[in-house]
């Protein structure tokens, strides 16, 4: 059986997989990282979003073997070892940006990538459009958008640009 060697949340792993094994199956079933969820399994809902080499993608639509040699970050890899949450996680809690929580891991991973991709600032409209690949059936998105806007200055270490604050 082929092997995939990759780094997940800073730890090296070498795992035997089938050609057809998906990255999300590797994470959940082989490594026990069940924080990454499978919602639609058709690359629409975004519950399975993880970062591969720093970019957000849908782990239900990537083969595990495609991630060979890559560095993967999942929701489990965000908080510090002492339990301090990532600013995006903290703002999701602060702004009550979740109800059932099923979409939250993917939503947080997409939101972090979105904020990182926009050092110039983000308008509310850009946040809503930037999260179009993640579906939430509880919140109506409103508090999620608030949480992402609130995380921007924390992640960039400076106040949000006035035009982007809205």
């Amino acid at each position: 059986m082929p092997q995939v060697a990759l780094t997940v949340n800073g730890k090296q792993h070498t795992v035997e997989v089938e050609g057809r094994t998906l990255l999300v199956e590797l994470l959940r079933e082989k490594l026990g990282l069940t924080g990454t969820h499978v919602g639609c399994d058709t690359s629409q809902c975004g519950a399975c979003v993880v970062h591969v080499d720093g970019r957000s993608l849908k782990s239900c639509t990537m083969l595990a073997l495609q991630a060979d040699g890559c560095s993967v970050t999942t929701i489990e890899g965000l908080a510090k070892p002492d339990g301090t949450l990532h600013p995006m996680q903290e703002m999701f809690r602060e702004h009550h940006a979740l109800q059932c929580g099923f979409c939250t891991p993917g939503m947080v991973m997409s939101a972090i990538d979105l904020v990182q991709m926009h050092p110039e600032g983000l308008t509310e409209a850009e946040i809503r459009e930037g999260l179009e690949g993640n579906l939430c059936r509880c919140t109506g998105y409103h508090n999620i958008v608030k949480a992402v806007a609130a995380a921007w200055p924390l992640m960039h270490g400076k106040p949000a640009p006035a035009a982007a604050a809205e």
């Binding site: 050609g19 849908k58 990538d113």
Partner: protein
Amino acid sequence: MYDFAYQKPGSLADAVKLLKGDPEAKALAGGMTFIPVLKQRLNKPSAVIDLAKLGLSGITASGNTITIGAMTNHVTIATNADIKAKIPGLSEMASWIGDTQVRHRGTMGGSLANNDPSACYPAAVLACDATIKTDRRSIKADDFFQGMFTTALEPDELITSIEFPVPEKSAYEKFRNPASRYAIVGVFVAKGPAGVRVAITGAGQGGVFRHKEMESALASNFSADAIANIKTPADGLNGDIHASAEYRAHLIGVMAKRAVAKAAGR
């Protein structure tokens, strides 16, 4: 998903050899269509040949040509400064495909080789009179697209890059399916060295096509008014649960006028 052998060759020659040696093998680019197809068991390849390590990613601008590597993803195309400045229609097109996560993986070469009748890139390639470079030859856009999911590519032939002559003006307008983001109708207008070209995607039963009547009207007067009275017949257009053929015919006129107005203002 049925299982398959996975291979990631390190050179273009090796990738072509693997495909030539096994008629049941399939090439994998970004996988944003192909992996869902495999998951639905609509295809059963013996081997999947991953093209990720062939060095086919990247964008170069020189003179009046922009060359895009086949494995370049949509985010890279959408955010490239040269493409934004020189082919803004292509930049906006790339930024509207799927969602961010799909745009991080999906590639131009993969989209063109698949030639989905609702895919966006075929319209840009056809309207800009781009050239498809493969491991063995160059194919003009007019010869490349040969009908729904059908191209001029041989089974073992791989796209390496796409060469876009820089048009004087360009714009894309898309009436998108709100769930899939695919084009119900997409219109790419380019005014370039080869004259005005108008390519329609999402609408035709045979995939992307040029709207010759609009092209000749725009050649003498590049404005939305010039095509305001052109009626597109519904014959040969797709009708499905999302939009009837008649509605698509109507949308072609609306989207084309918007695209021309936007291009003319650039």
